[in-house]
């Protein structure tokens, strides 16, 4: 167990982020949270502010986590009372405190970061988003101890496999129109209102992600390597083999990007609000004003990251919101079908998948889906710097041609 002198600074920093005394540490919940659970939370709080051993704090934190985890898994996610997600976050907070109070080892530091991430992913913000504050402190600490030479990571694979992606040829008559830096008015008039897809060129050239901080594997590792993220494993979400798992960004890159092993299947860091979790990355992007037209409420915007190797596929599907897809690294092949042709696209019947087509776009089963070839479409190959506007309910199919990082921005309609 190696500790460096900077670890001694860790607990004081975390302590400073917590309420100064037990009295100021509020535990307020609705009646949904049973008094037995509240009793355990209070016990944990007592352990936190007294000199009791870390094992008692850790034990109580784990009970809170295990119980709230069961609540989070009861019923549909949408119906889970927010109070249980808050309880889960408190459990994470107490667990992190127990891990960090006594000069944590590198492994305990990793566990603490992971615990913060679990709270950020599955819990709900508590105490002014204290888990976000603490994970920031922990990450700085972790970087320091890596620099001190504690890190026993494998040597970086400097030369990645040079990829020569097979780029589909886009026929002019089927191409999604491309426009360079249109005025807001012309975008609104020609594309937004008539619901016509278009590729906007030159509108994100100013992004640090494309300039000062060009995003690369190394950069992402340095900013977010130790952070835990949800990863989709399997060819596509309609497959039986498809599943979701949690990995650190380092593990994800090691397993699915750097040492691509087809036997392990495809891994895709997909549809994840990475920029809420890792605010440092948010500084590298800023969506242009086209993306705000018609939206007055900041709170309903969802920005998702999509990061994966070549070959990831999002099957043909439609969303009830409009979408802006910005390409940052690598290229993607995208095909679009207008909702007027939904009848030729054979959506699944089940309520879970009714927004997804049954057809494999690039190798359709013409016997099962005879009408599909009659449906007109537009297609494009999206390159770094391009932003694709996908109108509401427009069917879209996306395949990455090489290592790719895209970002989508859409407005919630709820």
């Amino acid at each position: 167990m190696k500790t460096s002198s900077s670890v001694a600074q860790l607990w004081p920093q975390i302590s400073a982020a917590l309420p100064a005394s037990e009295d100021q540490f509020l535990l307020l919940f609705s009646d949904t949270v049973e008094s037995s659970v509240l009793d355990l939370l209070k016990r944990s709080r007592r352990h936190l502010y007294s000199q009791t051993s870390n094992s008692s704090l850790s034990l109580n934190a784990q009970i809170v986590l295990d119980y709230s985890w069961e609540k989070l898994n009861t019923g549909t996610w949408r119906d889970v009372d927010k109070e249980w997600r808050r309880v889960y976050s408190y459990g994470c907070l107490f667990k992190v405190a127990a891990l960090c109070r006594g000069g944590p080892s590198e492994d305990e530091l990793r566990q603490a970061i992971r615990t913060c991430d679990m709270g950020l992913l599955m819990g709900a913000a508590i105490m002014d988003n204290i888990l976000q504050v603490i994970v920031g402190i922990l990450q700085s600490q972790f970087k320091k101890s890596c620099e001190d030479g504690d890190d026993q990571g494998q040597p970086e694979v400097k030369r990645m496999k040079t990829e020569c992606p097979l780029v589909p040829v886009i026929r002019e008559e089927l191409a999604v129109p491309r426009v360079k830096c249109p005025s807001l008015e012309s975008f609104k008039t020609n594309y937004l209102l008539p619901l016509k897809p278009v590729v906007l060129e030159g509108v994100i050239d100013h992004w640090p992600a494309l300039n000062q901080h060009p995003w690369s594997i190394d950069y992402l590792r340095s900013v977010a390597g130790c952070r835990t993220v949800p990863v989709e494993v399997g060819s596509r979400y309609t497959d039986e083999e498809w599943s979701q798992t949690l990995l650190t960004v380092d593990e994800f890159i090691d397993r699915f990007i750097s040492n691509e092993d087809k036997a392990k299947g495809l891994g895709y860091l997909a549809q994840h609000q990475l920029f809420d979790q890792i605010p440092e990355l948010k500084e590298d992007i800023r969506f242009p004003d086209y993306c705000c037209l018609g939206e007055d409420d900041e709170d309903h915007i969802t920005v998702n990251a999509w990061f994966g190797p070549g070959g990831t596929v999002s099957p043909l599907h439609q969303d009830p919101q409009q979408n802006f897809l910005a390409q940052v690294v690598g290229s993607k092949y995208i095909r679009l079908y207008s909702p007027e042709h939904t009848d030729k696209l054979y959506p699944h019947q089940s309520p879970l998948l009714h927004n997804t087509s049954q057809v494999e776009v690039e190798s359709p089963d013409t016997q099962r889906f005879p009408e599909f070839s009659k449906a007109p479409y537009l297609e494009c190959v999206l390159q770094p710097g391009d932003v694709l506007f996908i109108p509401v309910q427009h069917w879209h199919y996306i395949r990455s041609l090489e290592l790719s990082f895209s970002i989508t921005k859409r407005a919630e309609t709820e």
Partner: protein
């Protein structure tokens, strides 16, 4: 008949915390079956040995159902209701059955059912209803004549009389009904395969588990997200979520944890240790053998040549009693609820050796959310 408990004990629902040792861990997680002592109270009914047990997450209820029946509560009982036998809080004298949850104590009396809020000190039930106990006095809660009682409002739900309900088990998000005919029906959410119809869709109305048609069942039980039933012939059928091995089928999570445990132990002993990446690959190679969700009933061989007599489930573990008096447990074990003197989970049924060693014959089992209670009698010594 003596009752033993093991597993989650953070609220002293199994036994009082040791005041001498500093070891919070062994207080909260009772890994070895421990005999339940009656309360040290002056109230006369508490001196009787408990007749039946009901358990929730933080409490245990002892039902004394002979003579002046009453219910005693142990565990997370509000500080002012130490004398929990009917003096303050729920008036349980004369009750015929009880069910306990984190929020409520549900009691049946001749002619009525009452739901009491046990988080508050109240002198009247939160809800009550007249029931016609003449029609069938063998019905056990949550069944009542005409329907069943849940632990959240609306409390009463009716059931079609065509179903001829015999016994009902309620999970976190589903229900499992045994009919007089031996048929089994399920309804509720099905996203963890717990309805047994082969898919993940929900059912609003009771739907027969067709895979078991023609095989009459004699008893049913539910965990948080899994279902279990015993056939007339003593076989055990399981379905639902297997994330901690609670179905007794191979679980990836359990195997990984076992490997990690070995890994640590080998490391401690200074033995050569495989890299975690290699181990991960080994486990992942066997991916197709692991079952995370079992959407159709599967026959589980608990132990060869033994019939199952009784079964009960906690949220993520299962406990079964054989006709020969052995207790088997499997599933989530991190609070000691499997009784194998360890905190490991298990995806294979294992006998709780304690009872064998003590020459005790297990006759009944009741699981709380994270613990297990077993009733045992002294084994007749046989000449061998």
């Amino acid at each position: 008949m003596r009752w033993f408990g093991f597993g989650f004990n953070a609220f002293e629902q199994i036994c009082v915390h040791g005041k001498v040792t500093e070891d919070a861990g062994s207080d909260v997680k009772v890994t070895c079956p421990t005999e339940l002592k009656s309360h040290v109270e002056t109230s006369s009914c508490c001196l009787k040995k408990p007749g039946e047990i009901r358990a929730s997450w933080s409490r245990r209820a002892s039902l004394h159902l002979d003579g002046d029946s009453c219910v005693c509560l142990a565990g997370f009982v509000t500080a002012t209701s130490v004398e929990s036998c009917g003096v303050s809080g729920p008036k349980t004298c004369g009750c015929t059955d009880a069910v306990i949850s984190e929020y409520h104590l549900t009691l049946t009396f001749p002619g009525r059912v009452e739901v009491w809020d046990i988080q508050k000190k109240e002198s009247t039930p939160k809800w009550s209803m007249e029931i016609n106990t003449q029609s069938d006095h063998t019905l056990k809660l949550p069944l009542v004549p005409g329907g069943y009682i849940t632990n959240k409002p609306p409390f009463y739900h009716s059931l079609s009389p065509c179903l001829k309900a015999k016994s009902l088990a309620l999970g976190a998000e589903h229900a499992l009904l045994l009919c007089v005919t031996g048929d089994v029906y399920t309804w509720g959410l099905g996203s963890h395969g717990q309805l047994g119809h082969g898919g993940l869709t929900s059912e609003e109305e009771p739907r027969a588990v067709e895979a078991l048609c023609g095989m009459p069942m004699s008893s049913v039980a539910t965990g948080g997200w899994h279902s279990v039933c015993i056939s007339a012939g003593g076989d055990l059928y399981v379905w639902g979520w297997n994330e901690s091995g609670q179905l007794g089928l191979p679980s990836q999570g359990v195997r990984k944890a076992l490997q990690q445990n070995q890994h640590t132990q080998q490391g401690n002993l200074g033995q050569e240790v495989k890299s975690s990446e290699e181990e991960l690959q080994e486990v992942e190679k066997l991916k197709e053998f692991f079952i995370s969700i079992q959407a159709f009933p599967a026959l589980l061989d608990v132990t060869p040549s033994c019939e199952i007599k009784a079964v009960s489930c906690g949220s993520r573990h299962t406990a079964a009693v054989t006709t020969t008096g052995d207790l088997y447990t499997w599933g989530w074990g991190e609070y000691g609820q499997l009784g194998h003197q360890t905190l490991m989970s298990s995806d294979e049924p294992q006998r709780v050796e304690f009872f064998k060693e003590q020459q005790l014959r297990v006759v009944e089992v009741v699981c709380g959310t994270w613990n297990t209670f077993a009733a045992a009698i002294k084994e007749e010594l046989s000449c061998s």
